[in-house]
Symmetry: C2
Subunit: 293 residues, 2 copies
């Protein structure tokens, strides 16, 4: 997209990046950024999860169901992939009975079976260990698209006011608390009060709920409110960094929020220019907060 700022990924010249593409814009952003820098990625498009398929299919790719991800690693090695990136969300949990058996997977199965029952982080750690056992180096998407990380401070024309600061603090504190329990990365506060917490439904589901809460008068007619997103304390930063994009802005507007706070340097603002422009159109603020300050 024209809105991405060009940059040169910090990769050795003979490296090739494999992108395991889940939902949202991050996989597209990573692929485009690599291609612009002359690196040609190989994309594993996760069936039923990846969005913006035509953008992804513009690059060399394979489409596989979630449960066949293990097969993908063999394929990636054949394609000369040296570095892998896990990009985008996986909404559905893998179903054990659908896992396509590979020799490597079968050896790992008791471990995988156990870890599938853990939280997001447990599952991710299992996947990561599996990838690295194939000799492919796992890197965080932010190492390839560092420009998409939220910077500290206000990114939009609108800026949070004093009442918004209370919402930001309350929502961030709640997001950290549930992150510590490996439950979710997002929370919404209105009038200084946390009203909704992200579970497995994801941020889109969370914002959808806000629309319903408002229309049912459960917020005392209070307007405003802030969505906050931050990493889970102690999470592996090579996957599942929180992110917002154009759709998040639209959903936040529909939910009647005044703005969004994201963890500075650890959350993505995807399709950066488009997302900030959308926020400016709607008069929402987007602010990066140093959560650990």
């Amino acid at each position: 997209m024209a809105s991405e700022r060009r940059q040169v990924p910090l990769l050795p010249p003979d490296s090739r990046v494999g992108i395991i593409a889940g939902s949202g814009s991050l996989p597209v952003n990573v692929a485009q950024s690599l291609a612009l820098a002359g690196h040609h990625p190989f994309i594993v498009i996760i069936e039923g999860e990846a969005d913006r398929l035509s953008d992804l299919q513009a690059h060399q790719h394979v489409v596989l169901p979630l449960e066949a991800a293990a097969v993908a690693f063999d394929r990636m090695r054949k394609e000369g992939v040296t570095h892998a990136v896990l990009a985008g969300g996986i909404r559905r949990r893998p179903q054990l009975r659908k896992l396509r058996p590979t020799l490597r997977l079968i050896t790992a199965l008791p471990k995988v079976a156990w870890e599938l029952t853990l939280g997001d982080d447990g599952l991710l750690r299992a996947v990561m260990r599996h990838i690295e056992s194939t000799g492919i180096k796992l890197v965080g998407a932010q190492e390839i698209v560092p420009d998409l990380l939220a910077r500290e401070g206000v990114m939009t024309r609108a800026a949070p006011e004093k009442a918004d600061r209370r919402d930001i603090d309350a929502a961030l504190q709640a997001a950290l608390a549930i992150g510590r329990l490996d439950i979710g990365q997002a929370a919404i506060a209105v009038g200084g009060r946390v009203v909704a917490l992200e579970g497995v439904e994801g941020t889109d589901g969370l914002l959808e709920r806000m629309v319903a809460l408002r229309s049912h008068g459960r917020l005392a007619g209070k307007g405003g409110g802030v969505l906050a997103k931050c990493t889970k304390p102690g999470q592996d930063l090579r996957a599942d960094l929180p992110g917002i994009g154009v759709q998040t802005i639209r959903d936040a507007k529909r939910a009647g929020l005044r703005g969004i706070a994201v963890e500075a340097n650890r959350a993505f603002v995807l399709d950066y220019a488009d997302t900030i422009a959308a926020a400016d159109d709607y008069g929402l603020f987007v602010v990066g907060v140093d959560v650990h300050a």
Copy 2:
């Protein structure tokens, strides 16, 4: 209801109890328990919040909008009310601009205005102080219907198995964490993982969400799961104790859960016999857990 076990409330003989009746079965249970013991309550039915109106209207009562609650205290004193009980949920937040002015309220207004912006507990504490400033003693519903408190251990024919115990632990831990932040009192875990947290939508909304998560395949086809409810650490026990009832059992069944864990001695099992019978019909377990053990 025939299902309530008769008991004598621990009240002085010349006392009269005023019930401020929000949603759910608790106000009905409290009123019936009092009437059975020969105490005739005076009920303030909160318009648009109270359920089971015909059961409530069987007692002396007045119907008032939430914002006129202050008026209710003057009325209660005229009716000879010596003790008040806050019973049942208030789904809607009061709207300041709709508050009916009374002299007492106007004096308290800056304080009230501030506290309305706080969490549930902040708001409740304000209401409680206001009640006690009128000379009416505020008591917890559990002082009148102690038999409705969950006891420790399994209350149903079905009992939690080992995997359920993991769900119980995870969900209780999460419910405590969000309670500490004065956000909610309930959480749901499936396969050892917390998938949904209660915000302002309440337990019925939380269970409704589970139905949606299941039907969208967001739980890896995993069945089972547990709803846990407990008090917020440090909350005033004279109001807003967590509770479950027949509808909770029905909703939990629809959400595909295997059972419910509630904090022993601090959560209500409303319409006790009916609720446990419903759980037995559906094969769900209900267990009381000593959260602070």
